[in-house]
Symmetry: C2
């Protein structure tokens, strides 16, 4: 099958690396030069809303998927009129705007932190009354990796943050969570679903640094609750593909923070830690193959490579370390690759994380 | 690093699929149109001995490796004068001619079936005296997948086979083995070595059909003996990369049948059944990275897809089946892909093999 991907970054690269052995061929729509996925298929190098580029990828594909949620609505509509676009375009609408996303959670009775839209100074007062202080102000669109966010501890800080971030914000209560988790669900065209064990995520400066997959100490009840949340969203959206939901654990409760209609950084450990990766299951889903229920033989973890490249020999010398580079040139704050760690037990994985972190620059 | 590969078939494809995440870029020298590795790098589409093609791949690469042993000696010499060619060219000389190969085994005190060169009718008499009857007559060069071989049960059959196969033969005793095994060793540039557990192989019509990795019932002594054989050859050849040796088990003894200076069909199960595949370790070896000692969490197996493509949905629906297609069009006797099977125990893997075989055409 011919698979088109909107975006040619590392997620597209890993989708192709896992999809090519299933017999598929890939075309990527990506304006940036020398993209990470470039070695794995044809590249259409126009803007994401260029009609000629869209026509070319439509002609070159039997199905189109994407590696980022900020696909222009007009592009999604153009493509969906010509061939299957999966996950389905309503998933894009639901995730491009944090307010729409939170409203969808509320509609489906999925717990979230209290939130309120913020467009005017009056909104801000109302929002702080709902969210309390401290609060988090976030741009509703195009935020990623902690960008477009500010934690505010007073009305004055809130007003200053509003001025800095511009209009189109959402205010949310600052949640004192015990940890951040994510759930990855996969929906097939025939409505069947599989789920990965919950992952525990650790961020620094807004960027994911380390994931533990599966997250330690997850009860079957907690796993089931997370899967129910994801199922509610997938049912509503007629979902096909991988859906990632970031969650805050507060005591025994789960609050939904945000979601992504695509493969997700917190699922990269599945490349080495599960019998089938999130990338393979996403490709199975969008190409209409049966999903594979993932089996996880032991503990695993992922450490992101950010900003600077390590010595590949230093990483390769570590037992049970699996290097995944994206072919990107170094730049501060940029995700350049990740290292997966597998081990026989939690101690071995913990030692592996420590040794990988020590081998990374800084 | 820029890796050049002589050949663009399925072995080159899988080398690239495993090498790209390590940050490497690939160029393939392959005269056939639309080769399996074509989606994974640049293709230089000249003959293997075309000076212009060799100059192009030399210019595009930091190291050259190969996916087949019949690399023209002049091509290997041309490339080796310009950049590292690994495994080293002496490994090509030792494996291109079955007689040279068997003599190397004998020199290193590696047990083999009795053998004798056959170029003339007089040779044939001498050869049958050494090999006994039944014997196997084989072309010394360019044989693969059982091609260029004949089992002969009388002097008359031997003479007829000699006439049919042409000159340049070797005669070997027909070995009544209890099973066929293979050992895969990997040599690094710094002289370190890792080995995979012995694999048990089942052929039909000269083509590998099913591998069990690790082979059941292998004692530590048998594994150690196989590793010693491989070590002797790697030491002699200054070996870097994956070396595969096919062995006959006769009682508790191992006879070396033939070897391949490359990744090998009998190691395809390592893609899903080991923590690091033969392909990744070969790329680590030739690019100068430390090798990864493979860990094998449970039993695994591989079933080749020969001649006709299965319904991908039928394979994908099987639990613990991992589909690997090569992007080749169907043709009788052609290897089109393989299915790896992983399971918690031998029963689960045995059931998996049976279900995969049932899902394959015929």
């Amino acid at each position: 099958m011919r698979v088109g991907v909107l975006g040619g970054g590392q997620l597209a690269r890993m989708l192709a690396l896992e999809g090519i052995p299933l017999g598929h061929r890939f075309t990527f729509l990506e304006p940036a030069p020398d993209p990470p996925a470039g070695a794995l298929g044809r590249v259409v190098d126009t803007a994401y809303d260029d009609p000629a580029g869209l026509a070319r990828i439509a002609a070159a594909s039997d199905v189109v998927t994407y590696e980022f949620e900020n696909v222009p609505a007009s592009s999604a509509a153009y493509l969906a009129a010509r061939l299957p676009v999966l996950p389905p375009p309503p998933a894009l609408e639901a995730t491009q705007d944090r307010l729409a996303e939170k409203r969808l959670f509320r509609e489906l009775a999925i717990p979230t932190a209290p939130f309120h839209r913020v467009d005017t100074p009056d909104d801000l007062d109302a929002a702080l009354a709902v969210a309390g202080l401290p609060a988090v102000l976030k741009t509703r669109r195009f935020g990623y990796d902690g960008k477009g966010q500010a934690v505010v501890r007073s009305a004055e800080e809130a007003a200053a943050a509003m001025a800095a971030l511009g209009p189109g914000l959402i205010a949310e209560r600052f949640v004192e969570f015990s940890r951040e988790l994510s759930v990855l669900g996969v929906g097939a065209r025939d409505g069947s679903r599989v789920f990965y064990p919950l992952t525990e995520n650790h961020h620094r400066e807004g960027i994911l640094r380390v994931s533990h997959g599966p997250a330690p100490g997850v009860t079957p009840e907690l796993q089931a609750r997370a899967e129910r949340l994801a199922t509610g969203i997938m049912d509503r959206l007629g979902y096909v593909g991988v859906l990632a939901i970031e969650l805050f654990q507060v005591g025994d409760d789960l609050l939904a923070n945000e979601m992504a209609p695509r493969v997700h950084n917190s699922g990269h450990w599945t490349l080495d830690g599960a019998t089938v990766s999130q990338f393979e299951n996403h490709i199975r889903a969008v190409t209409g193959l049966p999903l594979a229920p993932p089996r996880v033989p032991g503990p695993a973890a992922m450490v992101n490579i950010i900003g600077e490249l390590p010595d590949p020999a230093a990483i390769s010398a570590l037992p049970f370390a699996h290097l995944h580079l994206y072919g990107k040139s170094p730049r501060p704050g940029r995700k350049l690759g990740h290292v997966n760690i597998t081990g026989r037990d939690a101690d071995e994985v913990a030692e592996g994380i420590a040794r990988v972190c020590a081998a990374l620059p800084r």
